[in-house]
């Protein structure tokens, strides 16, 4: 399905979803407080283990304490961006597929890609980790005395975009299993998400070559925060090293697109056996 002036449509939908998100939170102070507190606690808990270790040992392996904080800020920022742009289970696509909720998307009179890019936009409820992540990243950068020319910000933006693409591609590759096994794989993205969020904030030096190789390709946990943080901190500074993350992000996204569209084709033939009129699942 083609759409006229897609960029304008994207902006319009983002504005619409942002308004709805704000209205959701404006129901009362109890809701707002609960969502914000939960977001902050979950986000901080995710990076605190690494922080405590860095504090205890004055760094982790070859990483100094401020470098670890930079890594944690980056990891938190990636997570915050996913929460803000791909909320409502768009990053946990196995749930939507497994529950038959993809039908809600397919009946809309607009292309699937537009729905997937906009429907999860929650700039208010999903922003609990964005500000702490940004703050930690730039505070650590100032502690390190990083010289940041304008090109560094460009590299930061490219790497953040690539890290987002890597996480989403991994979630969609794993989550697409739900097309073929809706009940069994409905929650499979919870496992993949747990793996990504628990391991992303750790420096991966010290791993055996094959393990490290796997963690930047097959299960790309290393590309979520560790690798880009190395590049941004100047630990890896060759052109090849700078280009690796975006290149893998493009490769993984292509693979995710291929698998997802194969699954969608299968879904087109079988539909969902789990959706019931009254909303519950079989």
């Amino acid at each position: 399905m083609a759409v006229e002036r897609p960029f304008k449509r994207l902006i319009h939908l983002w504005r619409l979803y942002a308004t709805m998100d704000l209205l959701f939170l404006a129901r009362g102070p109890q809701v707002a407080l609960a969502y914000y507190l939960a977001d902050i606690v979950v986000g901080l808990a995710a990076v605190t283990a690494t922080f405590l270790l860095a504090e205890r040992f004055d760094g982790i392996g070859p990483w100094t304490k401020p470098q670890v904080l930079f890594l944690l800020g980056y990891a938190l920022l990636v997570r915050g961006l996913i929460d803000a742009f791909f909320n409502y289970n768009l990053a946990f696509i196995s749930r939507r597929i497994g529950r038959g909720q993809l039908d809600h998307v397919l009946i809309q009179p607009q292309p699937l890609w537009i729905v997937l890019l906009t429907e999860g936009f929650a700039p208010v409820t999903g922003s609990g980790m964005l500000v702490p992540g940004l703050g930690l990243l730039f505070w650590a950068a100032s502690q390190l005395g990083l010289a940041v020319p304008p090109t560094w910000y460009l590299l930061l933006a490219i790497d953040l975009l690539a890290s987002l693409a890597v996480v989403l591609a991994f979630e969609y590759i794993v989550g697409s299993l739900a097309f073929w096994a809706p009940r069994a794989a409905e929650e499979i993205n919870s496992s993949s998400w747990r793996l990504v969020t628990q391991l992303a904030p750790f420096p991966l030096e010290g791993l055996a070559g094959w393990a490290l190789g796997s963690l930047v390709t097959v299960v790309p946990v290393g590309l979520v925060a560790w690798y880009p943080a190395r590049v941004l901190l100047g630990i890896g500074s060759t052109v090849w090293e700078n280009a690796l993350l975006p290149a893998v992000a493009v490769g993984l996204s292509t693979l995710a697109f291929w698998i997802f569209t194969r699954g969608l084709r299968h879904y087109g033939r079988t539909g969902s056996t789990r959706y019931l009129d009254y909303g519950h699942r079989r």
Partner: protein, 263 residues
């Protein structure tokens, strides 16, 4: 409990275990868990390599701690289907069965454990020497005391599960909001991910008095010989004695709210 009733719970556990046969996809989950262990082991070797003497635990004990924490991951972070049932609105079906609600939930949970213990935990213990980890407890006494400590950890975990279920209903908050927050806090405070002995500024000592530590830190510290067994067991007993009446009271006090909540 009559033998007939007991058989009903065993049957419930067996039916729950049978659910796993629906699909082999749980193997993916096991693979992801193995990967997590590999990364954590490498991390500890990187951190402690060359400075073992400065830490409160030798490297070998930390590696054993990490592997055993994953072997018993489900027992050290007890989760029944309570939150799911509240979310799906199917708790009422459990009330209709001629069985205790907590006992049915515990039976379902135990059934699932059987599968992961046989297909994940035992293979991981066998694999441990290949990963350079000795999975054995520090002494025969530690092995002996680990059993009651693990049992108490499960009892405390069950009480916390019921307590958080009751809190969700009492505060009328979204199920998953409370659940995610609880998971995040428990992972950090229980010592399931990192041994509390390695927390800086004496935080580990403070956290070891909290109920979450009774779920993971206590049995793992006993297993690896890191803590004194008697105070650890006593703290677990204390939390079990405090949490069960509290959880039971809060659950009963808010049970009628379940109707409004949709349970």
């Amino acid at each position: 409990m009559t033998p007939l009733r007991f058989r009903a719970y065993v049957k419930t556990a067996a039916m729950s275990a049978g659910d796993v046969g629906d699909s082999p996809l749980f193997v993916v989950d096991f693979a992801l868990r193995i990967l997590r262990v590999l990364v954590l082991l490498a991390l500890w070797r990187t951190i402690l390599g060359g400075r073992e003497a400065s830490g409160p635990m030798p490297l070998a004990a930390v590696l054993t701690y990490t592997v055993v924490a994953e072997v018993f991951a489900e027992q050290l972070a007890v989760r029944t289907a309570l939150q799911l049932a509240v979310w799906e609105g199917t708790l009422v079906i459990r009330f209709l069965r001629p069985m205790g609600m907590v006992r049915q939930l515990a039976a379902e949970m135990a059934g699932k454990w059987l599968i992961s213990l046989s297909l994940f935990s035992i293979p991981l213990v066998l694999l441990a020497p290949v990963l350079g980890v000795d999975p054995r407890p520090t002494s025969p006494l530690a092995a002996l005391l680990f059993i009651p400590s693990l049992a108490l950890a499960i009892i405390v975990g069950l009480a916390l599960d019921l307590l958080f279920g009751a809190i969700t209903v009492a505060l009328e908050q979204p199920v998953w909001l409370i659940d995610y927050t609880r998971t995040a806090v428990a992972t950090l405070l229980s010592g399931a991910l990192l041994p509390l002995a390695y927390y800086p500024w004496g935080l580990g000592d403070v956290f070891s008095w909290l109920p979450f530590a009774a779920m993971a830190w206590a049995p793992l510290a006993i297993y690896t010989g890191t803590g004194s067994p008697l105070p650890l067991l006593a703290s677990q007993l204390l939390w079990a004695a405090v949490l069960w009446p509290t959880a039971d009271w809060l659950w009963r006090a808010n049970r009628e709210k379940l109707v409004g909540y949709g349970g």
